[in-house]
Symmetry: C2
Subunit: 414 residues, 2 copies
Amino acid sequence: MRTTPDPLKAFGLQPIKGGITAPRGFLAGTAKAGIKYPNRTDLALLFSETPAIAAGVFTTNLVQAAPVRLCRERLRRSPSAQAILINSGNANACTGPRGQADAERAARTVAQTLHVNPRQVLVCSTGTIGIPLPMDRLLPAIPRAAQTLSPNGGSAAAQAIMTTDTRPKEAAVRFQINGCPITLGGMCKGAGMIDPHMATLLVFFTTDAAIAPRALRSALRQAVDVSFNRISVDGDRSTNDTALILANGMAGNTPIQEDRPGWKPFTQAFCSVACDLARQVVADGEGATRLVTVEVSGARNEQDAALAARAVSRSLLVKTAWYGGDPNWGRILCALGYSGARFNPDHVQIRFDNRLVVRNGRQAPHVSLETLARIFKQPAFRVEIHLGAGKSSYSMLTCDCSVEYVKINGAYMT
Amino acid sequence: MRTTPDPLKAFGLQPIKGGITAPRGFLAGTAKAGIKYPNRTDLALLFSETPAIAAGVFTTNLVQAAPVRLCRERLRRSPSAQAILINSGNANACTGPRGQADAERAARTVAQTLHVNPRQVLVCSTGTIGIPLPMDRLLPAIPRAAQTLSPNGGSAAAQAIMTTDTRPKEAAVRFQINGCPITLGGMCKGAGMIDPHMATLLVFFTTDAAIAPRALRSALRQAVDVSFNRISVDGDRSTNDTALILANGMAGNTPIQEDRPGWKPFTQAFCSVACDLARQVVADGEGATRLVTVEVSGARNEQDAALAARAVSRSLLVKTAWYGGDPNWGRILCALGYSGARFNPDHVQIRFDNRLVVRNGRQAPHVSLETLARIFKQPAFRVEIHLGAGKSSYSMLTCDCSVEYVKINGAYMT
């Protein structure tokens, strides 16, 4: 899709296969636990052959799922982990003390099965809120998942963590730091994309790089900020949003420190993989039929640019117009007007795929609605907005809101 | 619908017929100007036999339609008016200096036709953004509308201002102040209800009460605050949102002043009519199949209660679950969690139509999803949320988000 440049190629990185098991020393396994979906894998186990440095970014929702509390607490005590258990079909959220005990029990079972320190196990859940985990089915599936652990298990794991996703999402790259080859891989799930406050996103990264815990945390924040925080998903807000990275050091490089040699190539690779995954998420947005890049420039500062980009990316009336291929540029101006960004409406310019549509806040001359409708009916296009108020910019990836989205979300629990 | 008590009856007021022409001295007329919709009335003219005290509340969107600027400017100079021209099908927004000139020209034509002072004419537009008004069709329709002016024209006017509304919305009451009978009527249009930032709402009230300009402004703000600001419409935000009231004093009462005798019955009647109209708007929300009352109590203060009620009323995932009759209470808790309201999730209780569903932040015992699904499949129900954090409360009216909504908004402009 010409309008959304490949984030890996943008940094001259070649994608490789293998996802989260592409880096040395990482294995993944899966099992069918029958949690919600009949007859498909719904449990993934990620294992590092040696204890790894770990970092996490979590939802800021007041209502936090039990596994989020467990991960947050464990990483606060010690920034390291050796295994992550992930289930789909049930979020283990709003499940009270029982949910907390279930999460801990699942972690203990993983530790016993893999003979690792129980504190080195993290757990993540995604799916329906408010229903206790079926532990009688989940626990026996853990040893079965462990039996399938394999250095080629990345794709199967990406498959197992899906909920309403229609395809698995994974990426990996290899790059060098001081002549030492480093690999970084990732996978994620997430498809409930339309309302930015509601995405239930889980993201996992692995790398064989050696890196200081503090640098790893900083790199993860940076990668999430340029990727998952710039799609129309408010990564902070669901009850279960979690992004984790394990770095096991098996590449043997000198441990990476912030702003020292190696920091820049590492964060570039990390950001690229994160952006690639984020793009896969939007492209697979529930019911999405169009992938839209919203680029705001000419803002007074970056915050204003972000406010404007987010308002357009989130507006339901804008999204439904995109779905219908309706060239309703007025709704974009309207969303800008309530975004909170400061600008003079009479100075706004809007382009669709390089075509000037709005000049000085009103329809540009010689614009035909038919041409615009043709642009809006493409599977991917770009909306460029110049606020005429300054020099800052911000861009986001978003998608349309379709009839299919409503159907999917009208019958999720039952 | 048992779960949404009639706002008029709540204050012991009897509804009367006639809408905006129910009060003495108000006439309304309509015409077919062919602005967008073929073969239906799309122009309404409201006329008071004597100049009236006027007040307005307008959108706070940075992008303001030409008629909004005109009304705001005229009322700022002098709080009085004798006629209002309203067209549907075209918002005259984002139309630059030409749009401004068109609005003024329309007002001038009304003044000439009705032999009133041009400054005593207000104009309102609603419909598609960004397309200039077809003045060649609009202007000749003004004298035709004037010819139909009638004290029974309220319902026809309510019909003419509709856009995607499926039914006209009007209400009127008669009450007494010091033995003097006073009538207050209203009409409105608005149906794009799902995204609160985007409602394109026009609201008009008329009364024969004598009232001081300052008191009228205050009463209008109060009436809008308890009605249109409490449905899932952010009355402030579209390019065209306008609420106007004309008070022509023909009832002959002692002019009403704030907090003096007569103030309370007047504001009660005004609020009741406004709430009645607001309820009609939600019930006719684009594609809406369910009318939902969201009542938040137990908040630390009213602001927190409002944040919580708004987050639930606006959440697309909550609304799609209602549409599907899916008893997904977890999405409600999730929306509360990101609302910004301060509470402990473990203290939250939620009831659907008096049935306890969530206790201490998790599913209450003996709740069957089948029963809940039955509640969620009703045309109207109540969601009561107790945050367990204080004593403040706030309630809103909202609706579901249906497949039909997306279809309507996917093909509005073309």
